[in-house]
Symmetry: C2
Subunit: 217 residues, 2 copies
Amino acid sequence: MEFKDNFLIWDKLTGKQQERLTKTVTYRTVKKGTIVHNGSMTCLGLLLVESGQFRAYIYSDEGREVTIYRLFDMDICMFSASCVMQNIQFDITIEAEKDSAVWIIPPNVLKELMEESAPMANFMNQIMAGRLSEVMWLMEQIMWKSFDKRLAGFLLEECRVEESSVLKITHEKIANHLGTAREVVTRMLRYFQSEGMIRLTRGTVEIIDEKKLEKLD
Amino acid sequence: MEFKDNFLIWDKLTGKQQERLTKTVTYRTVKKGTIVHNGSMTCLGLLLVESGQFRAYIYSDEGREVTIYRLFDMDICMFSASCVMQNIQFDITIEAEKDSAVWIIPPNVLKELMEESAPMANFMNQIMAGRLSEVMWLMEQIMWKSFDKRLAGFLLEECRVEESSVLKITHEKIANHLGTAREVVTRMLRYFQSEGMIRLTRGTVEIIDEKKLEKLD
């Protein structure tokens, strides 16, 4: 697969714009654990994920983290190009959760395309609206949903992403996704276990009663 | 003041586009307390605030509210035109906090302008990025900041908005801004009073030691 087959608005660009992209887009593989963007890093450009998985998160001065959204195949990350996006006034960190491969549109090319192409500008608009919707969803979860429901929802989502009912994940990592302390996660997981919904072993969480978890979520 | 003097990218539009706006933009006054948009209402269009004040908030099934952002003079609200914005997947309510006056760009005109004008599309992009930044800021507040700091910050902000150190606001309203229960607000306000930072009377909160409140925030 080439860049143009994955870039949804390719056909709405002019021949010249397509040519400029073909000449300037780079392809890069990224090892699991690599941080490709954070608030203080230089401006990488627009990322288009070919394969792999990323998470975007924020963290507090005390080192607490919360996952804001994730990126899968075909997803686009615009915040790694925040230098060319006006009014983006927050720091976000993007980390590869799996070995991944991405295409990168350089910041200056992105800027030019957005300035001259309404389809491109509207496409960025749609992506941003999607991210904003994810953040609003998360806000509602945090504001109104009790932690047992959020944890149940997270475990079920992880099973879907990993296509497995056995999750290799530490309590610490779950806490960093959900923006809470490890102890809180451990306590709730033990409760889930006592209720027969999951089984805990060192470094894994196995879902054994999905229906019951779903009822909670 | 006319619409065109307040619409920042007026000069970047073509003569035809300016003409279309002049013909279709409407002007409307709105009484304090009016809800101009919510998730289930028809699509009003893009709002440009001439004067007054609005708040945008979300609420839970249980009727709890939290203020997401506010609109003042010259501010633009795009979510009241969410029918023409792709990927906006959340409900938000916009309520006039004071008697206000707005210009309204009808949804279909907004859609056409965005489709044909890169400056217009990028302008919408900037506004959305600004809103996203506000939501991210709020998220960080909710995740990492203790309630006393959030309440102190809110009271100081209200003093700036109202240009007064005596706020006519109920504990219930403060709770609805901050997404918590009235009892929690009352308890913390009483603590602030006991520390000499504020004075409470029926229906008002008077700030008497701004510096001490600022230290908390």
